[in-house]
Amino acid sequence: MTEARRLTALEYQNSIAVLFDGRLTSSAQYPGTVGKSVTGFSTEPAFNDIGAGGAEQLMFAAEDVALQLPAALPQLLPCAGSTPGEPCVNTFLDVYGTRAYRRPLSAAERAELLDEYRAGVASGASFSESMAMVVDHLLQMPQFLYLAERAAGAERALDGYELASRLSFMLTGAIPDDALLAAAPNLTDPAALTAQATRLLAAPRANTTLARFFREWTGTARLTPADKDQTAFPFFNAAYAQSMNDSFDRFVLDQVRNQGTLRTLLRSTDAFVDSNMASFFGVTPPAAGQWAKIALDDKRYTGVVTQPAMLASLAHSSEPSFVFRGKFIRKQLLCENLGMPPANAQATFNTIPLPPDPTGKDISAAVVARTECSGCHRLLNPAGLALEQFDALGRWRTTYSSGKPIDPSGVLPAVGSRPGVAGHDLTFTDQISMMEQLAGEPQVATCLATQVFRFTFSRMDTVSDVCAIQDIGDALRASGGTLGSAILATTGTDAFTHRSDQ
């Protein structure tokens, strides 16, 4: 089942742009998220529920947008200048009402918005002011604010407009564009659906959503200078942080757009550099203001996990974190359920004696020696320690500040374990050999398919979703199976084209 959910702030922003042809802008007063996302993806329904003050914030946000309307009305609604009146209002509703509700308006819905216009006129407002009131009203309606589908009972196929909404929000994080709405009546035809999915995936508008998938899956934050210790990294200013953020996005988008596969995602040595990132990697910078794709040292760098923004996100302000990095490998790349750390984890850690100038492995060994810690940390720590040669900003290093050498070798235990299955150990010499082996693990492909599923449907998967995840995974594992093909495969699953409420 896919629950009704409110648009995220990003989706609201994108949708306002699509709705009004980029002539009106969104409002910062639109309410953000509340609580914690279980999947890690920002579109989860409960994560976007409003609080007591939310209705008022939504009203203020709608007003902010509506206030911009009169100035843009000549371009948005030419009849406003020549023949203002109710026929012109209906023209507005035909275009912008349909876009906002993602389907033609019912007679009752049209009458409701027309009443708003009439109330405006009756109060002495001008045509453009009355239209602003219509927009104010429109933007607070659930048909615009919520992605909600009619209940299905046991199961039903979604209609074309429902498919258009699912497709558009999945791939562009916004309401459907006019081409998709025009095609909506035919989207129950799989070929038509695939054609539209392919079109949207190729569109630049999909970039933000695709980057969001990789960021939220990997836990890669949008870094700012405040995230890092300015004593340790005095050069890490706002421009540098922005370069690091952009470099990550360019990498993952390149993977999707240029036939990247699961293997290249995990093993590519590609990186994108501007002058800041060229300085970071110690390579020749491109022309000022330009970006270049370069190949990094394949003895050091391996795919998304060694992208600086990801390494810096999975780190403390001045020191890296083998726990955060290991947690990504086990929970997000292998989809293992490790549970929550106990409440007294930090307090317990404080009591563990450590040798002088401990290495990561010294700390890990001391933690794993504690029985109450070993259950999870024996699984987490080796994976994170393999990435220990990257500091808190993702810079390459071979020794600790104490001068002790860093040993990235280890054993990743019990990979593929689940109830009744012991799993197997992966022995590696460094991050390169670890990722090389993980790239070939069937569980990794299944896990990425699972993450695509969770991203698409904004919820955790259940046993009834096995077939859908299998289909997505098959697309990834197929000979030449690309990341893009896996995303497209999602739109062909029964889970995508059907709805069940049981």
């Binding site: 209705a55 104010d136 300015q230």
Partner: protein, 500 residues
């Protein structure tokens, strides 16, 4: 439509008396009684994260005494962590031995989430998810004069934005654990939101030509009504879970609509109603505020908005919320460029993680002193505002200062740091005391708060024992997370009245 305050129509009476009247009669003009009318009771909650100041190697330095007794004279620091309270020692009561018992029903599986979900609600959570309203919301429902007043405002006390984590969003809560009424973090926007419809003095002439903003504002009640109806028709075809989600949203719309659709609410209770001006407030310049570089100005501004929201009767329940998001730098508490929390991680330091940036216990105490400093300023400001009968607004306002944890160092949920102030008449044994009673729960404390405000409550939140509250005897908890020796499955959630 603006919310006009005409002191000549000053309406006397408690919230309960007003609510008992038919709506139109309740809002009918009455004789002016300014300066003589009995003022309403109000509640202010101050919240700070991480409990008592116990850092690496430091001893308890919060409690003023180990036994019940008088606090030191005004001007003498009651304890290292509360040193800033010295000017108001005679206005406060400090408490020890208050525990968060309900937290243990969560199984203690987390450090901050379940304490946050329970410390203000005392209701058994669903794992990390809160399931009940917080004390400010419950009190707010009772104290408000009409639905036209804003409910249980939560006003940010520091400039760092929320991190949207379970520990920040789950402290102040509405019905069923829904998010509380968190206010905009931009001080200018907060002033606009709280006071836009408040006008003091004679009504100005209507503007000759309403602007579009005026027209949109005037239509708010009608549009919200239409939108709420739209939710009703839209929900019809949805499944039950989706309907519940939209119903909650629609209820919030109806609550909001009441504020815009009803006649003008009662006039300000206090005679010193003076809405702050946005022009006197600095721009909210995120991200330069991220580490609290201007938290002194920010906190002072927010306190003034809070106090005036009470004075102008915009609300009768408001909270000042200091939170841990973004790891505040407490820059204003240290000499320029010397705060160890700019580069370091305050949260980790509280837990004593021994990282290279870990400041000293003295630094932690100094940083925590920020909260005491602004608590004192809040009390002093409430004391300076004249209430409707000429008394100090502080004397009609109960101020409750609590935290999410007892001892932040280990996520321990016993011996919470609690300070009460204001509403002198509710303290039979007087103020200027430290009270070390038997072990009490936060539920006991909040029930007593409701009694001090006029209720007859003997319990707050979930009742029974840890086992009975959960409904099964099979849950697990870590006794060491609570008071040593106290926590078993048979531990009651309430112990009785506090010695006030």
């Amino acid at each position: 439509m603006s919310q006009r305050i005409d002191r000549r129509r000053f309406l006397v009476g408690s919230g309960g008396a007003l609510l008992a009247l038919p709506m139109l009669e309740a809002f009918a003009p009455r004789t002016a009684f300014a300066q003589t009318a009995a003022p309403p009771k109000r509640l202010v909650v101050v919240f700070h994260p991480h409990g008592r100041v116990v850092g690496p190697g430091s001893n308890e330095n919060w409690s003023p005494r180990t036994t019940t007794g008088a606090l030191p004279p005004v001007g003498t620091a009651p304890s290292p962590a509360l040193a800033a309270l010295a000017p108001i020692n005679n206005e406060i009561v400090t408490l020890s031995n208050i525990d968060n018992i309900v937290r243990h029903t969560s199984g203690d599986i987390d450090g901050h989430a379940s304490p946050s979900a329970t410390c203000m609600t005392c209701v058994v959570p669903a794992g990390q998810t809160p399931k009940g309203p917080s004390i400010d919301y419950v009190a707010g429902l009772r104290l408000r004069a009409s639905t036209a007043q804003k409910m249980a405002l939560v006003i940010p006390g520091q400039a760092a934005p929320f991190a949207n984590s379970v520990t920040e969003n789950n402290v102040f809560l509405g019905p069923g654990g829904s998010p509380g009424n968190y206010q905009n973090i931009d001080p200018k926007q907060l002033i606009r939101d709280l006071f836009a419809s408040v006008v003091v003095g004679p009504p100005p002439p209507p503007p000759p030509t309403p602007t579009l903003r005026d027209r949109l504002s005037a239509r708010r009640g009608s549009i919200l009504d239409a939108v709420a109806k739209g939710f009703t028709s839209f929900r019809a075809g949805l499944g039950s879970a989706d309907q519940a989600r939209l119903d909650q949203h629609a209820q919030f719309i109806r609550d909001t609509e009441l504020r815009y659709a009803t006649p003008p609410p009662p006039p300000p209770a206090a005679s010193s109603c003076a809405p702050p001006s946005t022009s006197s407030v600095p721009n909210y310049d995120w991200p330069s505020f991220r580490k609290g570089e201007h938290d002194d100005v920010f906190a002072q501004t927010q306190i003034e908005s809070l106090v005036q929201a009470l004075a102008c009767d915009v609300t009768r329940t408001a909270s000042l919320f200091f939170w841990a998001g973004g790891d505040p730098g407490f820059v204003t508490e240290f000499a320029p460029s010397t705060s160890p929390y700019i580069a370091g991680n305050w949260h980790a330091s509280v837990h004593g993680d021994g990282s290279p940036n870990d400041p000293t216990p003295a630094s932690l105490t100094k940083a925590f002193g920020f909260y005491a400093k602004y608590f004192t300023k809040l009390i002093q400001r409430l004391a300076a505002v004249q209430d409707t009968d000429g008394s100090r607004m502080l004397d009609n306002t109960l101020v409750l200062w609590v935290s999410d944890l007892g001892y932040g160092s280990g996520h321990y949920c016993w011996n919470y740091p609690v300070v009460l102030a204001g509403l002198k008449s509710a303290f039979p044994k007087g103020q200027g005391r430290h009270v070390v009673g038997q072990v009490n729960s936060l539920g006991d404390l909040y029930a007593q708060v409701l009694r001090m405000l006029g209720g007859t409550d003997t319990a707050f939140g979930s009742t029974g024992t840890l086992s009975s509250a959960v409904g099964t005897a099979s849950f697990n908890f870590y006794p060491q997370m609570g008071r040593p020796g106290l926590i078993t499955k048979d531990t009651p959630l309430h112990f009785g009245a506090l010695d006030l």
